[in-house]
Point group: C2
């Protein structure tokens, strides 16, 4: 269970692709592992967070709750993603985090990790790039919700996630593990779950993809990319 950072398959695809000795140094900072069951709140908006978590295995999402039970999912977190880097600069977050599947995470002391990053220019630079990428995806999601049809949004979200899975070396052969329900897709894209269901049905009817009970089959990836 306690894999060394130097051999961690996740870190190879994470925001810090570093040399062996840096990874060894990083492992010294690792405070331990934590485990969460599926559908559990991992972090609640506004709490003081003592340590920074990295997802080793499992899926999660960042979200905010609104009056009236409405929810907006801000982004999805896959194995290798930090939850979240912003804790290096700030000691509490403006959103909550919930697990989609059961999760194992590596935990690092927030302040130690911040010092570690500040001391290694290479890593600090990679963290900056990571931050820019986060901004780019946020911008893309805003464009989706603001200016694209429900059909396009759903297609693009699924394609984005599959692409990220591939980049991380997660299995993507048909059918693949894909733990989002219709409510998650809807809350990420500003739709109702009923309408998200309608759109998914249309994708199935069009022979593009089929998503059912945590299993995704991609039939026509070119059609998705065209959106």
């Amino acid at each position: 269970m306690p894999i060394s950072c130097a051999q961690c398959p996740r870190l190879k695809t994470a925001f810090y692709r570093s040399e062996h000795e840096t990874l060894v140094e990083m492992e010294a900072l690792r405070a331990g592992h934590r485990h969460f069951p599926a559908k559990r709140t991992i972090y609640r908006e506004g709490e003081i967070a003592a340590d920074m978590l990295m997802i080793f295995d499992g899926w999660a999402f960042r979200y905010k709750l609104l009056p009236g039970g409405r929810r907006q999912i801000l982004s999805f977190l896959l194995p290798g993603d930090p939850i979240c880097l912003q804790l290096l600069a700030v000691d509490r977050l403006a959103f909550s985090v919930q697990s989609l599947t059961s999760i194992t995470a590596c935990s690092f002391d927030r302040r130690c990790f911040a010092d570690f990053v500040a001391d290694h220019r290479q890593i600090a630079r990679q963290a900056d790039v990571f931050c820019v990428n986060a901004q780019v995806s946020a911008d893309e999601r805003l464009i989706d919700v603001g200016r694209r049809s429900a059909y396009d949004r759903v297609g693009r979200l699924i394609l984005e996630l599959v692409t990220r899975m591939e980049a991380k070396g997660l299995p993507t052969s048909n059918p693949m593990f894909f733990p989002l329900g219709q409510t998650h897709i809807a809350d990420a894209l500003g739709l109702t779950s009923i309408h998200a269901g309608r759109v998914l049905r249309r994708f199935r009817r069009d022979g593009v993809l089929s998503l059912h009970r945590g299993r995704l089959e991609l039939f026509d990836r070119a059609a998705l990319r065209r959106l």
Copy 2:
């Protein structure tokens, strides 16, 4: 015209609130000033940018164009805001920037400024916090567009901008200078300009605010804050 950084009123409210000597050091990096007329494209998506600009005076916005002439405005830039900090980590941007009014900006060499930030931990930290705030506003905007009514969105956008103007010491007494047209509001919030116009009319009828030809009057700020 060439005001020294140490006395610059903008820098007092910018992301780096620093001591006198740091500002003097910063001024040495300043490559010069640039001026743009209103409604001009300042930066086009994907170009290589040699230097980082700080807005000294005037308003601008970040946006992306989509096929079919659709446009999504990602954020507005006010005096004192950088365009944009992300250039410290990356040499080209994924969006375009356009001026709303005529603009004067201070320009800094991208690489020199990046080194300057990296060498001053205090400033690097402030840049990180700035980056976190940018993420928070992006999240807020996503929630607006995804889960709130057109009326709420417009009200919240105007309140956000007025609050930022106040924080920067810009005049906000009735009527105040406010250079957004209905198209800008619409493109920022995922609406059509026609519907944005209808919503503004409703705000006027409700006695909350009046926006007309670059002049904004705020009558009932409490009502806005309630949204």
